[in-house]
């Protein structure tokens, strides 16, 4: 399997979505190799077909493309800058570390990129309400924001544990006018929030739109979210060339469901001289229930409507997962990542809680940038990689979100180890 080389002809319109149709994967039934597909009850079949058809039509519609471009630019603040971490790089004494500053987007994370796209599509389809799950609350906030902007109602399902941990985001969603629905079933985290949101969606798929939070779920969601997110990498490619005269040697992004990673990586998949690293959370240990390193330790399986790597027991039931980062706390992963792992195009590595928290403080104190604890996993791996790559090389990290949402929790749990 090869990727169509579209990198040559995207220089003119590098941050447009007008060349979305040039992306080869998935096939028309939503398959990324043997992953993806649409494993859903018959009750959802028609509404997913409707979404696919509407999306296929709208993504070529100049009005839609212009509207989304305008919102990306004037509402989200795109293009997000690339920042050279001089202090951090010099301190490490290895490769140069650059950050793609998705944390500077409106709402503070990359999630707004696909939420604006999803909300615009929902509105064009005549839907009245957006519903979704959220883990860390970043997707929930971004979707609630898009709903408010476009005059749609919004219900966000969130696990009880995450509600406690991510209090500031819960408040933000409420201020934005969304209804936050607590989920107390099962493990009370992201996986259960997905179940609850799906159940609500099944009840009324006609007036609601499921604004999924990552490159997961049944077709067309992994494709659609990827298409809306790939602006990150397309921008970054041009910006990086401008700054350094060439494209990056290495890319690093954290992977939960995998939306920010796919967003950065897509534009570089055909540039085989670029090494790409996806960073999964190894939490407390590699024991079942103490990590969420799906691609590292999972096996192919089917959950939430798609086939992909999955952390599961011998029976086929998903295993409990854990990470200090609520946004990475998911037993599955986007199907395209599974394919890219099997192809060997992307190297998936792990960072544990402690390494992520160290990186959280390190970036805050060397560069004055407080990263989301999810993104801190990518920073932690970048620090390791900078050492082994050495001087003369560089690496670009997707700083997918800012850390404001995490500060109370982190100070309480880890503050005393870091003099605060």
């Amino acid at each position: 399997m090869t990727y169509k080389n579209s990198s040559e002809n995207c220089t003119e319109n590098s941050n447009e979505i007008s060349d979305l149709e040039k992306v080869e994967l998935p096939d028309r039934n939503g398959w990324f190799g043997e992953y993806g597909g649409s494993y859903v009850p018959e009750q959802l079949q028609k509404v997913l077909d409707d979404i696919t058809q509407s999306y296929e039509k709208i993504k070529k519609d100049p009005t839609f493309i212009a509207e989304l471009r305008d919102l990306n630019q004037h509402y989200s603040g795109r293009p997000s800058p690339i920042f050279y971490c001089k202090n951090l790089s010099e301190k490490i004494g290895g490769a140069d570390i650059y950050l793609k500053r998705e944390d500077l987007n409106h709402t503070g994370a990359h999630k707004i990129n696909h939420c604006l796209g999803e909300a615009l599509l929902a509105k064009k389809m005549g839907k009245k309400k957006l519903i979704a799950e959220t883990g860390a609350g970043q997707h929930g906030v971004a979707l609630a924001t898009a709903a408010s902007l476009l005059g749609l109602k919004c219900d966000i399902y969130m696990g009880d544990i995450d509600i406690k941990k991510e209090h500031p985001n819960v408040v933000r969603m409420k201020i934005l006018g969304a209804r936050v629905v607590p989920v107390s079933r099962g493990t009370k985290t992201l996986k259960d929030a997905v179940d609850a949101a799906f159940e609500a969606y099944l009840k009324d798929p006609d007036s609601q739109f499921y604004g999924i939070g990552s490159v997961v779920g049944p077709h067309p969601f992994p494709m659609m979210v990827r298409d809306f997110q790939k602006v990150v990498g397309m921008e970054a490619k041009e910006q990086f060339k401008e700054i350094t005269g060439k494209i990056p040697d290495n890319l690093v992004a954290c992977v939960g469901g995998g939306s920010n990673a796919i967003g950065l990586f897509t534009a570089f998949l055909n540039d085989t001289n670029v090494n790409i690293y996806g960073v999964e959370p190894s939490g407390l240990s590699f024991k079942d229930g103490e990590h969420a390193a799906t691609l590292t330790l999972g096996k192919p399986g089917i959950l939430h409507g798609f086939k992909s790597y999955l952390l599961q027991d011998k029976n086929g039931d998903p295993l409990p997962v854990y990470s200090v980062a609520s946004g990475l706390d998911y037993p599955g992963v986007g199907p395209q990542h599974s394919l890219l792992k099997d192809m060997g195009r992307i190297t998936y590595v792990t960072i544990n809680d402690k390494e992520a928290i160290d990186a959280f403080f390190e970036l805050s104190r060397t560069e004055g940038i407080i990263p989301a604890v999810e993104s801190a996993h990518a920073v932690a791996y970048a620090v390791k990689l900078a050492k082994t790559e050495g001087k003369g090389k560089n690496l670009l990290v997707n700083l997918s979100g800012r850390g404001d949402k995490d500060i109370d929790f982190i100070i309480e749990a880890y503050g005393k180890n870091y003099d605060c």
Binding site: E42, K46, L202, G301, I302, N315, G316, D317
Partner: protein, 253 residues
């Protein structure tokens, strides 16, 4: 075969009853007692659900039963054992119901072979449409098992015919949108939908989702061939204990 059994039964009964249990809920012992009461009450066939922690098409009642059964140790292997015991003990056809990852993890072909060996007659896998389940359909066919496909009120005529052409035994018509166990209006709108199903489908029709009393079964008599009782018997077990299911079922027809 399942279809001929259903047609034969329909010569003496106006409508058949299919019930459902979650294996291992509230315990293995009690779920077998519930099966026994169901058979004694004259149900014609039964779905045995292998618990899965994310039962996508099920509502809160069956979801909780799934999760509790898992906590009590229900796994594929002891579910097969349970089915084997039920098949040996009782004369009616038993079907498995579960979600696709359970079959996928076990190995679809191995799963179908084991089902046949156990004496099961078919399976309902709500998250496996025929488009994604080609291996499954082949394995089921090879082992003379019926893959039961589902039609919903949003299914168009053309797809109804397609689903019917892929299925065998009977077609399961979901009475409304949403998940199992909610309220269903057994009235006007449903009539048109069932007529549409009848026209498009050559197999017997089962109707489920929200069937919970005598009036509902009466409504379906003449409009469908099989009434499916799912969440309601679990509610009764939760409220009145597993001994109360038989009485409830005897009063349905």
């Amino acid at each position: 075969m399942l279809e001929s059994y259903i047609k034969q039964r329909l010569q003496t009964k106006d409508i058949l009853l299919m019930t459902h249990i979650v294996i291992g809920y509230p315990s293995f012992k009690e779920s077998m007692q519930v099966v026994e009461q169901m058979v004694d009450a004259g149900v014609d066939m039964m779905e045995l659900q292998i618990p899965f922690s994310e039962p996508m098409a099920d509502g809160p009642v069956i979801l909780k039963a799934n999760q509790d059964a898992l906590k009590k140790g229900a796994r594929v292997n002891n579910c097969f054992k349970f089915a084997e015991d039920a098949v040996k003990k009782f004369k009616i056809p038993f079907l498995f119901m579960s979600y696709y990852n359970i079959l996928f993890k076990y190995g679809v072909e191995k799963f179908a072979e084991k089902m046949a060996e156990t004496g099961l007659k078919g399976a309902i896998v709500p998250d496996l449409p025929p488009e994604e389940g080609k291996d499954y359909a082949i394995s089921m066919g090879k082992n003379h098992l019926s893959p039961i496909y589902i039609i919903s009120p949003t299914t168009c005529d053309q797809r109804m015919t397609y689903l019917a052409s892929k299925g065998s035994g009977f077609i399961y018509c979901v009475a409304r949108k949403g998940v199992t166990g909610g309220q269903t209006e057994f009235s006007g709108g449903l009539e048109d939908y069932l007529k549409k199903c009848r026209r498009a489908v050559n197999l017997p029709l089962a109707v489920g989702f929200g069937v919970k009393n005598r009036a509902d079964v009466e409504y379906l008599t003449g409009r469908a061939d099989i009434a499916v009782i799912g969440s309601e018997t679990i509610r009764i077990v939760n409220r009145d204990g597993s001994g109360a299911v038989g009485e409830f079922l005897k009063n349905l027809r």
